[in-house]
């Protein structure tokens, strides 16, 4: 029998995104490294100790009450032991500054797009991996035995955490499909680098667009077919599908329309069609309101955009057909008194979180640094939101 508490929180999210008059505003977690620091651990201690990561996640969800268990092990706990004996990764773990820094890099160069498109997987293996790991071509199959074992253990760890959402935290899992493919962000974040991809998009836009189209055919098109297949089971998930976007911040509006929007439109057209009727979470790092015109024609009641560097009131006004996720600033969570923080949360709930829906309270950035939040401020907001419930959990 389904866990009634899970279904209660799932319904809150569903009613909010569909503008179906939710019982109360939901509170959505967006906490990553902060959870480890708040538990008293160094980043380097938690980042590759999965048992410890389980403890961190358990403590976090038992201390702070949210409506979704957003467990993404990869953003707290990296499988970096996979690289032992292979080389050095791009993530720099800095315990002194309590941060993980990501180096910019370029593994795909402007004149290589044709070779890249001809056989991307071979190109990645034979050209990009040796660039990243100078010893790659001297390595043998036996050198990948342990990394493969580690990758398997990591996937098992992730699955274990996801099951904890239901069995331990009694919350819906984040989304049923896993993140939808994002070929543009892959070019920026994995292959050409932030600077490199920005240059390529300007100097050879047609080649850049061709690469994205190819990647779309390899990844987005199969995802669209998956959505149509009826195999996405979201019975224990807050959202049917999710999508994360970052590299739109480096594009002009015209570039966004050329490079980014076609992928999104493919996903939206299928996800929001009556046959699927999905609700979708979209994490838009950085800014998004400047691109609001693209989203105006989407049907109301399907998409929730988690925003960062935007005013929550302006988000709701700019995208009235879309649920805004955010608003709880690190200024109040991290720098104010408990009373000031609570007063701001109450103001947001009263102004945006009542009525037909369309607003989910959430931190307005990925909570990664110690000063992003004080534990007592966060707990006060969590407890305030929870007490807005009229129906008793588990007694629907």
């Amino acid at each position: 029998m389904p866990d009634q508490k899970v279904l209660y929180h799932k319904k809150l999210i569903d009613d909010t995104v569909r503008f179906n008059s939710p019982e109360r505003v939901p509170f959505f977690p967006h906490f990553f490294l902060w959870a480890a620091l708040d538990a008293g651990y160094k980043i380097s201690e938690v980042s590759d100790d999965w048992d410890l990561n389980v403890q961190v996640q358990k403590r976090f969800h038992e201390t702070y009450k949210f409506d979704v268990a957003r467990i993404q092990s990869g953003l707290v706990c990296h499988p970096r032991k996979m690289l032992d004996g292979i080389g050095i990764g791009f993530n720099v773990f800095n315990d002194e500054q309590e941060s993980i820094e990501l180096k910019d890099f370029r593994l795909l160069f402007p004149g290589e797009y044709d070779a890249f498109m001809e056989d991307r997987k071979r190109f990645l293996w034979e050209s990009m991996l040796p660039r990243k790991f100078p010893a790659w071509n001297d390595l043998k199959v036996k050198d990948l035995v342990e990394p493969l074992e580690e990758w398997k253990r990591y996937n098992e760890h992730t699955a274990q955490l996801n099951e904890m959402a239901i069995n331990v935290f009694h919350l819906p899992k984040f989304n049923a499909s896993g993140p939808a493919p994002n070929p543009v962000d892959s070019l920026y974040l994995s292959w050409a680098g932030l600077e490199g991809a920005s240059i390529d998009a300007r100097r050879q836009p047609e080649k850049f667009a061709q690469a994205i189209a190819l990647l779309d055919s390899e990844s987005t098109d199969p995802f669209v077919e998956l959505m149509k297949s009826g195999k996405i089971d979201s019975s224990l998930h807050a959202f049917d599908i999710s999508f994360g976007m970052l590299s739109h911040n480096f594009m002009s509006i015209k570039q966004f329309g050329k490079f980014y929007w076609p992928t999104l439109k493919k996903i939206f057209d299928t996800a929001f069609a009556p046959e699927q009727n999905f609700i979708m979470h979209m994490m838009a790092q950085g800014q998004i309101i400047r691109l609001a015109d693209f989203f105006h024609d989407l049907p109301k009641g399907h998409l929730a955009i988690q925003f960062e560097m935007e005013n929550p009131y302006e988000m709701r006004k700019a995208m009235p057909n879309i649920t805004a996720v955010g608003g709880m600033t690190t200024h109040y969570l991290g720098n104010s008194t408990v009373d000031e923080c609570l007063a701001y949360a109450q103001q947001l709930v009263n102004d945006l979180g009542s009525g037909e829906g369309g607003f989910i309270l959430a931190p307005d950035k990925m909570m990664s640094y110690r000063r992003d939040a004080k534990g007592e401020n966060l707990k006060a907001v969590c407890d305030y939101i929870a007490q807005l419930s009229v129906q008793e959990e588990g007694n629907l």
Partner: protein, 49 residues
């Protein structure tokens, strides 16, 4: 993992490396496409780390 693979195979050639690495993946179905996809996903993660 399987002891059928040639552990001395160099990684420098994608096709040969994937062929041998696939033999290590006993926990997956005995389907070359599934095993190749697993190796490709693993390689993608290597790039991102």
């Amino acid at each position: 993992m399987s002891d059928k693979a040639n552990l001395e195979q160099s990684l420098s050639d994608y096709s040969k490396a994937v062929e041998e690495l696939s033999k290590l993946l006993d926990f997956l179905p005995d389907d070359p496409v599934v095993r190749k996809n697993y190796i490709d996903t693993f390689a993608d993660r290597f790039i991102k780390l």
